[in-house]
């Protein structure tokens, strides 16, 4: 696997091992165990409370990475559905002589059923082997996070982390790398910026060149922001264009003026004011 967690989106085994987040082989050989693939300090700790054996420690501060006390973990799986990040798996390398089981959260429809043959996938979603569903746990306290357990050949137990979804065709990972559109950096002047008044990049550049250096200045010259949405969509883009053109930071471009009504209002409603 090339790249890091930040490039791939998932941790490599090396990264997990280096962070001491991967149970020892010794522990794996004793039976099912939780593998917590959570390597970023984010403020979160439900897994700690979910484990009734006290096997997961987060403590204070709350951004600590969860630490598995592997000797205390029974592989019960209570933590799997509790993890808001869906990052906990139960791996049982002792399932049979040739097979291991992987339990993972699976929030898709349709749910597989026990005994169903499935395609097991790795962290990148690539099919690595066939598997069989041994258990589907979807009790109320899981709150719609079913935990699916699949049996797979043992040699894939460090890689397999989910199954291919049942309702979709195999992903076209290698979609045609050709394109029927060629990028032309020369002339994006006709690109729309203000969707309401159909004001283009070119119009705004011209206004800036003529001296507009505020959102209001651009608006008065081009009507960008004068349409139905009153600049709610384009004002930030306009401000960025001014900042870029004038080599200014964002704080040097003031907000455009706020005027009532902040949302459109029919004449009849205002006219109904009893106080006029």
């Amino acid at each position: 696997m090339k790249g890091t967690i930040l490039e791939n989106g998932y941790p490599s085994i090396e990264e997990l091992k280096n962070a001491h987040r991967f149970p020892s082989e010794e522990r794996f050989q004793k039976g099912p165990v939780a593998v917590i693939e959570c390597l970023q300090p984010i403020p979160c700790n439900p897994c700690e409370n979910a484990c009734r054996f006290g096997a997961i420690l987060v403590g204070e501060p709350i951004i600590n990475l969860p630490e598995l006390q592997e000797e205390k973990c029974t592989g019960c799986g209570m933590c799997v559905a509790s993890c808001s990040g869906l990052a906990i798996f139960i791996v049982d390398k002792t399932y049979s002589a040739t097979e291991a089981t992987i339990s993972f959260p699976y929030e898709y429809l349709p749910l597989p059923v026990k005994g169903q043959a499935i395609k097991a996938v790795n962290r990148a979603g690539e099919v690595v082997c066939d598997g069989t569903v041994t258990r589907v746990m979807n009790v109320k306290q899981n709150d719609h996070t079913p935990v699916v357990t699949i049996a797979i050949p043992k040699e894939f137990s460090d890689d397999v982390r989910s199954m291919q979804r049942l309702n979709v065709a195999p992903a076209e990972k290698d979609h045609e790398c050709c394109a029927d559109y060629t990028y032309d950096p020369a002339d994006p002047d006709d690109l729309i910026v203000c969707r309401c008044e159909e004001v283009t990049v070119g119009d705004i550049r011209k206004a800036i060149a003529e001296g507009a250096d505020t959102i209001t200045g651009v608006k008065r010259r081009t009507r960008a922001g004068m349409g139905l949405c009153q600049g709610r969509t384009c004002s930030k883009t306009v401000s960025k264009m001014i900042a870029d053109a004038k080599h200014l930071s964002g704080d040097k471009i003031p907000l455009d003026t706020a005027r009532p009504p902040v949302k459109p209002v029919p004449f009849s409603v205002l006219a109904g004011d009893e106080d006029i």
Partner: protein, 371 residues
């Protein structure tokens, strides 16, 4: 018609509701005004389980937190006007409100309140590329609203632009709704949201295109999106020739961050500061969420874009501060509650993802923002 209330809360999202609950439960006369048919703001499209600790409702889905807040709000005795839009904020703490009456008719009301909380949330940023106005290109939050709130498929094959938490979570939720996500495009050299969110969609086989940007969207004869093209970025962040790749998609989602919605505060002359970490221009506030104008408070994304958990705690902070200043809560008790909330907020802003926000918030409260 002139209506007087002690507290008016504009926006019944996570911040507005928690503020209303805190203020109303100690006896404040609270009016919540919300533009939508149902309060809860963006909580009801957040169908994932929240992070945080037990005190932050960790592990509970946003939509369920929303249901609980609605129940608590009702029990607190706060009054709610739904389908009602605040169109202006004028001198003397007067709000101009277009209220939808029970018979469906709309009437203009003036609401005068001693304390006003502006909790109007945020709005998605966008990026401009050739074809970005074609129907089928939309904000990631828009797609999320369609699938999770309206339960409608905005497309069947999608490309996500942006790998922040919104981009990652909405990609996942699109997969859950049965939409094929062909890829996540990100201009930066690394994924910017939480790894655990990225890992979920990786396992579903969704590829990332880092150092890429979308350059073109194409419509079919019906005028709607049928194809999108991306290209790799060079070291100057410009698309490089001969790296284009096209995808047959009918949905492109833009997840380019959010910015505070604070037009009402701006209209009332509330001091604003430019805080890039929190979405750009935003109303400034003190440690009680009060702005430079006495009696005007802000909370939630309006007071700097973060997430629903911080919004709820900021709302509570504002609600308690309001109750305290109305002398409905003894100072000692109020200060203790506020200290607890501030500690919770601080813990939510720890770590590499929250650090910049924490520092920005500290700068704001210590009034170290350059104006």
């Amino acid at each position: 018609m002139l209506v007087n209330r002690q507290v008016a809360i504009i926006g019944g999202g996570p911040a507005g509701l928690t503020a209303a609950i805190e203020a109303a439960k100690v006896g404040a006369q609270v009016l919540i005004i919300d533009e939508n048919a149902r309060p809860g703001g963006q909580l009801f499209k957040q169908i994932h389980k929240f992070f945080g600790s037990k005190a932050h409702n960790a592990g509970v889905r946003g939509m369920d937190i929303g249901l609980n807040l609605l129940k608590e709000t009702e029990e607190s005795g706060a009054e709610t006007w739904l389908n009602s839009t605040v169109i202006g904020l004028y001198e003397g703490n007067r709000l101009s409100v277009v209220r939808t009456m029970e018979d469906g008719s709309k009437k203009i009301h003036t609401v005068q309140a001693e304390k006003i909380l502006i909790a109007t949330g945020s709005q998605e940023n966008t990026i401009n590329f050739d074809g970005w106005t074609i129907p089928g290109v939309m904000g990631a939050g828009c797609a999320q609203t369609m699938i999770n709130v309206n339960r409608v498929m905005p497309g069947t094959k999608a490309l996500m632009v942006g790998s922040g938490n919104v981009g990652l979570m909405v990609s996942y939720q699109m997969l859950q709704a049965g939409i094929d996500v062909l890829g996540v495009v990100e201009a930066a050299p690394k994924i910017s949201g939480y790894n655990v969110h990225a890992a979920k969609i990786c396992r579903a086989g969704v590829p990332f295109y880092l150092r890429h940007t979308i350059i073109h969207a194409e419509a079919d004869e019906s005028g709607t999106l049928c194809r999108a093209t991306i290209a790799a970025l060079d070291e100057k962040w410009n698309p490089s020739p001969n790296t284009e790749q096209s995808f047959d998609v009918n949905l492109v989602c833009i997840a380019a961050g959010l910015r505070p919605l604070a037009k009402l505060a701006q209209m009332y002359g509330v001091e604003h500061g430019f805080i890039p970490e929190l979405g750009g221009w935003m109303p400034l506030h003190d440690e009680n969420m009060e702005t430079n104008i006495q009696g005007i408070y802000v909370a939630g994304d309006t007071a700097g874009v973060e997430e629903a958990n911080t919004a709820m705690d900021e709302g509570r902070l504002a609600g308690i501060s309001i109750a305290q200043s109305l002398q409905l809560l003894p100072d000692q008790e109020a200060e203790q509650c506020k200290a607890e909330i501030r500690a919770r907020l601080e813990s939510l802003r720890l770590g590499p993802f929250g650090e910049r926000r924490l520092q920005a918030k500290n700068r704001i409260v210590k009034k170290e923002v350059q104006l």
